[in-house]
């Protein structure tokens, strides 16, 4: 059963990965992905908004899809909402599996769908001004890889 969380405050990816690994010690491999707020280009902050009735249920649906598609021992998805500073973790996906290819593919699929198919809206503050980030064509191309 996957663990899926929306975090409205900072989380510690290293501690989460350690706890996840301990809880799934039958898995031979764990793949983890951390997305963090990119520094540079004058970026001062990033904000992620969500829509309560759809966002977490959508993430849980995605996790169920991932678990149905690959043979996993466990799956963890944590996604931030709220305002974050450069370097802060935004998203963590961990997939544990008996065989590494399942873990790599599951984490990759989960990230592609979190980026372009989950109910989040992102805006960035640079040089004192906020601007909304539009979806990128690459994100949709990434999604199309999975058919």
């Amino acid at each position: 059963m996957a663990e899926v969380r929306l975090a409205d405050a900072a989380f510690d990816p290293a501690a989460e990965i350690a706890a996840f690994a301990a809880a799934h010690d039958i898995a031979g491999g764990i793949v983890s992905f951390i997305g963090q707020v990119r520094a540079g280009d004058g970026v001062e902050a990033l904000e992620l908004r969500h829509f309560e009735p759809l966002t977490l249920p959508g993430m849980m649906g995605l996790a169920a899809e991932v678990e149905a598609r690959w043979a996993l021992a466990g799956l963890l998805v944590i996604h931030r909402t709220g305002v974050m500073a450069p370097g802060a973790p935004i998203v963590l996906v961990c997939a544990a599996a008996r065989h590494r290819r399942d873990a790599f593919a599951a984490a990759d699929y989960a990230m592609d769908h979190l980026k372009s198919d989950s109910w989040f809206w992102k805006r960035e503050q640079a040089n004192g001004k906020w601007r909304w980030i539009e979806p990128r064509a690459e994100d949709h191309a990434d999604l199309a890889r999975w058919g």
Binding site: G35, L48, P53, L54, M111, F120, W121, R123, W132
Partner: protein
């Protein structure tokens, strides 16, 4: 009364994150939009905008909003 929610960049276009409109009877989406400034209505009616009525996704075609409803306008997402 019905509540309209504007997510993402739609909040900046509307100038507010949400708006209460004085509905007393079931009203079509098209008539709801005429209660807003034309440039806001145009942005909300865009082909990429999805709609959620009381938290559930709905199609724009034939949509009717009643008193007490909450209608959310959801622009293209950008997460991760």
């Amino acid at each position: 009364m019905a509540r309209l929610l504007f997510l993402g960049r739609l909040e900046d276009i509307a100038g507010v994150p949400e708006l209460v409109i004085p509905l007393t009877e079931p009203t079509s989406l098209g008539d709801v939009l005429t209660m807003l400034p034309p440039f806001v209505a145009e942005a909300l009616a865009g082909p990429k905008i999805k709609l959620a009525l009381n938290g559930a996704l709905v199609a724009a075609g034939g949509l009717v909003v009643g008193a007490g409803d909450e209608l959310a306008f959801l622009p293209p997402v950008s997460g991760g």
